[in-house]
């Protein structure tokens, strides 16, 4: 990643993302405020009021309405934007399927937050990981710069005629939305060159009537789902291609589908996603100086799940340790389950161990990451603990 520090500004993550959205020129922004997403839409509202952004900003009564409005916007040929988190994303659930099923290329920033109950406004990724099967592409950002850049890339991926699939750009609530850090804001003109105006193939047009979202009986429903499935598989190469095009235009690249850190000779590989990647890198730096061959694999695209790329990147690992901020109650957790599934049909029999960590905003410390590495070392010797809650406070149970 080569940042031109001269163009960097210290801004809040939410402002940086709102600025990126402005550069994407949505026709309509429709959102309902919810912590920790609020600053993103507040900033956008301000930009519209100031005349910096020529968009219609709709204040609606709920997240359900926020996304439903955008279904109409897309059908009418407009570029739509929304942002939400946690309970708000849950309230959108029905519409999430409608958007993806109607193949509407919307982009939404999800400011990842824990799900209630118990009520909790802090960061984890239960909200979007829980929505992994709704047909949206999901890209996870490590830092504010990545969230900014992924937002612009997301429209280019979503609106590609071969893809036509909505994208969630997931950024950890508070950790990224409320942090002030140096960011290179997007250049409006360069963004326009990178992302041309939205010109959909089909729109609602009285001169050429058409039904959007027709009824599909058992004789065709499967095929519509298959088309979505195929489009997400095509998105695997599109995400990589767009990341490379972005690099050509803006000079920044941090992996298309995934990225590695000290991966080449790593014996123990920690697989994770989102802002905790930075902490893991620091922990790896410390452990490398002690001679431990630990590496990191960062998932950038969780949907589509990059099975082939993961198999290739992890082929030399002796133990794979997955750390994630979600839990599939009654199962294990999203990423570790998907990763195990990805390896089952391969020749690799590398132990895969999983950890639910950082739930409801609990800090994940370097000490926690060392603990994971200890568990991975034990797994290597045959003491395999398949899945557990990291840093569980047994004393309060």
């Amino acid at each position: 990643m080569s940042n031109n520090t001269a163009n960097m500004k210290v801004v809040e993550g939410s402002y940086a993302v709102a600025h990126a959205v402005m550069c994407c020129r949505p026709d309509v922004i429709s959102a309902y405020p919810i912590t920790p997403q609020t600053h993103i839409v507040e900033n956008l509202s301000q930009m519209v009021a100031n005349g910096e952004l020529d968009s219609e900003f709709l204040t609606v009564d709920s997240e359900f309405s926020a996304l439903s409005v955008l279904v109409g916007v897309c059908a009418a040929g407009g570029r739509g934007y929304s942002s939400t988190t946690s309970q708000g994303l849950a309230l959108m659930y029905e519409v999430l399927y409608n958007v993806s099923g109607l193949r509407m290329p919307l982009v939404m920033n999800v400011a990842n937050r824990a799900m209630g109950a118990p009520l909790n406004i802090w960061n984890d990724q239960q909200d979007s990981i829980g929505a992994r099967d709704v047909g949206w592409i999901q890209i996870y950002a490590e830092n504010v710069q990545e969230a900014v850049d992924a937002t612009l890339q997301a429209y280019k991926i979503a609106e590609d005629r071969e893809i036509r699939t909505p994208v969630m750009v997931c950024m950890d609530g508070f950790v990224l939305t409320h942090v002030y850090e140096p960011v290179e804001l997007l250049d409006k003109e360069k963004a326009r060159e990178f992302l041309p105006d939205f010109k959909p193939e089909h729109i609602l047009d009285p001169a050429r009537p058409m039904t959007f979202g027709a009824f599909a009986d058992p004789s065709t429903y499967t095929e519509f789902r298959y088309q979505q499935f195929e489009a997400q598989l095509k998105a695997l190469s599109k995400i990589e291609e767009v990341a490379r095009q972005f690099e050509e235009s803006f000079g920044r690249y941090y992996g298309g589908l995934l990225d590695g850190y000290f991966l080449d000779d790593a014996e123990i590989v920690i697989v994770t996603l989102g802002s905790v990647v930075g902490t893991v890198k620091d922990a790896i730096d410390a452990m490398r100086s002690e001679g431990k061959k630990v590496g990191l694999l960062k998932i950038r695209s969780y949907r589509p799940f990059p099975v082939q790329a993961l198999r290739k990147a992890l082929k030399d690992a002796a133990v794979i340790a997955v750390m994630e901020k979600d839990v599939a109650i009654g199962g294990e957790a999203g990423l570790v389950t998907d990763l195990k599934a990805a390896f089952y049909s391969s020749s690799s029999r590398t132990p895969i161990i999983g950890f639910a960590a950082g739930l409801g905003g609990r800090d994940i410390t370097i000490k926690d990451i060392r603990k994971i590495v200890e568990k991975a070392e034990a797994a290597r010797k045959g003491d395999l603990s398949e899945f557990e809650f990291l840093a569980l406070r047994k004393e309060i149970l």
Partner: protein
């Protein structure tokens, strides 16, 4: 028929999409008993019963087998028969 992604459909799609496949019972008309009162035609919720050469005939491409016609017929001229498929 080729489907368009996003379940986008051109107008008048039911001309090609036959919807009668849900049917379990099929109405069988006894034209001897029929007095041509047209109640079956009027009550059919699918609008798929019409006169052809003077006789009331259901369009089985769209008939759902709901039995409304048989129920309304004052002369009991319509019988619902289990359809073998």
């Amino acid at each position: 028929m080729v489907i368009k992604a996003g379940s986008l459909v051109d107008p008048c799609s039911t001309r090609i999409t036959k919807t009668g496949a849900w049917r379990t019972f099929v109405p069988v008309f006894d034209h001897e008993k029929c007095i041509k009162c047209s109640l079956c035609e009027i009550y059919c919720p699918e609008g798929c019963i019409h006169q052809e050469e003077g006789l009331y005939i259901p369009d089985l491409d769209y008939c759902k087998g709901c039995s409304v016609c048989a129920n309304e017929c004052p002369r009991m001229a319509i019988t619902m028969v289990l359809e073998e498929k």
